[in-house]
């Protein structure tokens, strides 16, 4: 049977072989190979599809179906006897093509590797239609629809994917159809084809639906923002959904989740949720706690309408003192402000008496003790806001650095480090015209700050109140202190140079993420670069 089947396949495919030979002759003999070579690929796909589909064509033509089914063969063996000669013939044909492709350097749409995948997919997919479709055109049409259609769909939804990767994914999905066919063929008998199709087509539709669903599910969301936590987790968000990959796996969360601050033990990430209002503006809806072990999300406080959080950078919103998380909210329309404190799930609100509204707030330091008060930086003002509504001016500065209860102010007299308490207690003073080297991206508070006067750069560790001169040829792009290490980052195009400094020691690493980042985030864990669909993290080693 194997021999007669093989003979039959080559006999049936004779016309396609002749066309293939003619195209090849045309490629060799003429200079039209740019047009003819892709035609060779198309006819090869046609051959693969025909060979797969023609599995039972002989029985149909020669009225031998009943005889075939009465043979003392299990359905699996019967299928194998039909499949093997076909596999042999399509493999042989493909090998010849690949050899010719290599020898003659034929131009082609697809690389030999990708073409092999597509060719195999066409062959296997067409097998699934060998009983259901009596004519090859219908089978070929559906094969193209399911195979190329799937490839186009993936490409359409995720343009960044490599074509080879897409073909491979599409082919893996396509395997569902021959497997479904194999499963149903175990019960195949002489009943009309419609009986077989009654089971096959619902299965086909279900499989197609599942594959399409999987494709849509797999499509990377067009993330609008990514943030790196101090422990190296990445929280991604778009307007409609958010995602974080925890130890237990990827957690998808409906809605837009914005990182506020991690708890002191690092087990909880406080976030706020946002949604679009009727005018397509983002409005803040609630404060939630995301359990970084389990991925559970707990709503802590529903933000009243028209109230907004006014704080610093992602990951640095509010402050945590003795386990209580405090946030500063304002209602611009009515010039009202309040402090919200969340302690072990209990929420307390402390309204600021009288009218208060400041639209330029870029940092809020929550002071401990009673009555409650805040130190607010609203360029160029640094002032203290009492719960009574009283405002006390503290200093004028264009920029500042903050580390826990310490503030580094760049004042007209020089650069001054203070401890913030009832008073500003000076810790370190440097007279001169110093400017803070800006950290050109959103990120966490850095214990170390870089500042310069003329072309001299200095690094100040606010915790240890230790200053060190830096040998820098150009201003840094950003910097971050992580433990005792201080990282200074320079950017040239898409290449990052990261200088790791400790007292008396330094080393430099060049890092190329391999794509042009749309944005960069930094945390004590490392550097995160990302575009809409790609992301890479450079972890700081310590």
């Amino acid at each position: 049977m194997l021999a007669t089947e093989t003979k039959r396949i080559f006999k049936d495919g004779a016309i396609i072989f002749m066309v293939l030979a003619a195209i090849f002759a045309g490629i060799v003999a003429s200079d039209q190979d740019v047009y003819l070579a892709p035609a060779l690929e198309i006819f090869l796909l046609l051959f693969a599809s025909f060979t797969g589909w023609s599995m039972f064509e002989r029985e149909r033509q020669e009225n031998a179906g009943e005889y075939m089914l009465s043979l003392p063969l299990s359905r699996s063996r019967l299928l194998l006897l039909k499949f093997l000669p076909r596999l042999l013939s399509v493999s042989l044909t493909l090998l010849i093509y690949l050899r010719l492709h290599q020898s003659w350097q034929l131009p082609s749409f697809l690389s030999p590797f990708n073409f092999t995948h597509l060719y195999a997919g066409f062959f296997l997919l067409s097998i699934a239609f060998s009983i259901s479709f009596k004519n090859f055109i219908s089978a070929f049409f559906i094969t193209c629809l399911l195979s190329i259609g799937q490839i186009l769909l993936i490409k359409l939804l995720d343009n960044s994917r490599e074509i080879g990767q897409i073909i491979l994914q599409a082919n893996l999905a396509i395997l569902v159809y021959p497997l479904l066919f194999f499963f149903l063929f175990q019960r195949y008998d002489i009943k009309p084809v419609s009986t077989f199709n009654k089971k096959f087509f619902p299965g086909l539709l279900a499989a197609t639906g599942l594959i399409a669903g999987f494709i849509f599910y797999q499509v990377p969301a067009k993330w609008k923002n990514l943030n790196l936590t101090p422990t190296g987790l990445i929280l991604k968000n778009s307007c409609g959904r958010s995602e974080i990959t925890l130890e237990r796996g990827r957690k998808r969360i409906p809605g837009c989740l914005i990182m506020l601050r991690e708890s002191e033990d690092g087990n909880t990430l406080y976030c706020m949720t946002r949604k679009l209002d009727g005018n397509s503006n983002c409005i803040e809806t609630s404060i939630v706690a995301l359990d970084l072990k389990t991925g559970d999300l707990q709503t802590l406080y529903r933000i009243p309408p028209d109230w907004s959080i006014y704080e610093g950078h992602y990951g640095e919103f509010g402050s945590i003192r003795n386990g209580a998380f405090s946030l500063f909210l304002q209602k611009p329309q009515s010039k009202k402000a309040m402090i919200v404190e969340i302690d072990a799930g209990h929420v307390k609100t402390f309204p600021i008496r009288g009218d208060f509204y400041d639209s330029r707030i870029s940092y809020v330091l929550h002071m401990s003790g009673e009555p409650r008060q805040l130190v607010i930086f609203s360029e160029p003002r640094l002032y203290r806001l009492h719960i009574s509504g009283q405002v006390e001016e503290l200093a004028k500065t264009n920029s500042l650095g903050v580390w826990q209860d310490k503030i580094l102010l760049f004042e007209s007299s020089g650069v001054n480090l203070y401890r913030v308490g009832e008073q500003l207690i000076p810790l370190l003073q440097r007279k001169g015209n110093y400017s803070k080297s800006p950290r050109r991206l959103g990120g966490y508070e850095s214990r170390g700050v870089v500042y310069h006067a003329d072309r001299s750069y200095f690094w100040l560790d606010m915790e240890q109140q230790k200053e060190e001169k830096l040998e820098l040829k150009s201003p840094p792009y950003t910097y971050q202190q992580s433990g005792d290490h201080f990282y200074v980052v320079f950017v040239d195009g898409t290449v990052f140079t990261i200088r790791d400094m400790r007292s008396g020691k330094q080393s430099e690493t060049v890092w190329d993420p391999g794509f042009k980042p749309a944005a960069i985030r930094i945390s004590p864990f490392g550097l995160l670069v990302f575009s809409h669909q790609k992301q890479k993290v450079y972890p700081f080693n310590n």
Binding site: R8, R58, E62, A64, S70, P72, L73
Partner: protein, 273 residues
């Protein structure tokens, strides 16, 4: 032995074989009769494994019917399904590959040329060739669908003689489906009549002939099991089954041959009483 238990075959909402249970002994030769659509072909196809019967079961010598049991079965369908594009030699080689070959049982007449295409044969020749292939594999069970009427008298004799020889010498179990017994009378020892997927008559042929009579009368006697009757000129023809001694006193009692009995059951012109 074949044991069929509660076998059903459905085509959509139609039950072609309906809850059928039967036992067929080794060496039995059975005529399976019935009108068109009665379920004969479906039953043979289910026995040959060409149709999947569900629910119900078929056991061959106590083993469930599967591809292994099909090796013992020769099934000749009414449509003579063979690979028409093959030559005689190719078909014989392929059949022998799957079933094995027993040289003693190859039909030598008519002789087929090895290079002859099956497509070039007449339906009668094809039938004899198929039988030759089937018997060449020394089957234990032979299921023949309604093919005998395709054969000319000579080929019919070849066909039937070959089957008879195998029944006698090898205890071949034969089930032949036919709408009439005319061509094959003498072969079956048991007859089954199917109607709407059910067996309505299952009897030894000799016993059936004894149990079935026809008589004439004006009205149907109340105590006689008349199964069919029809008005015939001035009198009424009545078919009695099973025949009872009390009919003896009646005039014009006739014993019928198998063909006539089957006509009574499946002819359609007789209204069942």
């Amino acid at each position: 032995m074949i044991a069929i238990d509660k076998l059903s075959v459905r085509f959509g909402k139609v039950r072609a074989v309906d809850d059928l249970s039967l036992a067929i002994d080794k060496g039995e030769s059975i005529l399976l009769a019935g009108a068109n659509g009665a379920g004969k072909t479906t039953l043979l196809r289910a026995l040959a494994g060409v149709l999947r019967a569900r629910p119900g079961s078929i056991l061959y010598d106590g083993c469930p019917a599967d591809h292994r049991s099909r090796k013992k079965i020769a099934y000749i369908p009414a449509s003579i399904s063979l690979y028409d594009g093959m030559t005689v030699k190719e078909a014989a080689r392929m059949h022998a590959h799957f079933y094995g070959r027993s040289a003693a049982w190859t039909i030598s007449e008519p002789a087929f040329r090895p290079g002859q295409k099956i497509a070039s044969m007449s339906k009668g020749e094809k039938t004899i060739f198929f039988l030759s292939l089937a018997l060449g594999a020394a089957p234990e069970y032979l299921f023949v669908d309604d093919v005998v009427h395709f054969l000319d008298p000579h080929l019919r004799e070849v066909f039937l003689t070959s089957i008879l020889r195998l029944i006698e010498e090898k205890q071949l179990t034969v089930i032949m489906a036919s709408q009439s017994a005319f061509e094959i009378e003498g072969i079956p020892e048991r007859v089954m009549v199917m109607e709407k997927g059910k067996v309505i008559l299952d009897e030894n042929v000799d016993m059936l002939k004894q149990k079935f009579i026809k008589f004439y009368g004006e009205s149907i006697p109340e105590d006689i099991p008349v199964v069919f009757s029809r008005q015939w000129q001035n009198a009424r023809e009545m078919y009695v089954y099973p025949y009872q001694a009390k009919v003896h006193h009646l005039d014009n009692v006739e014993h019928l041959n198998l063909t006539e009995i089957l006509r009574a059951f499946i002819g359609g012109e007789y209204a069942r009483h």
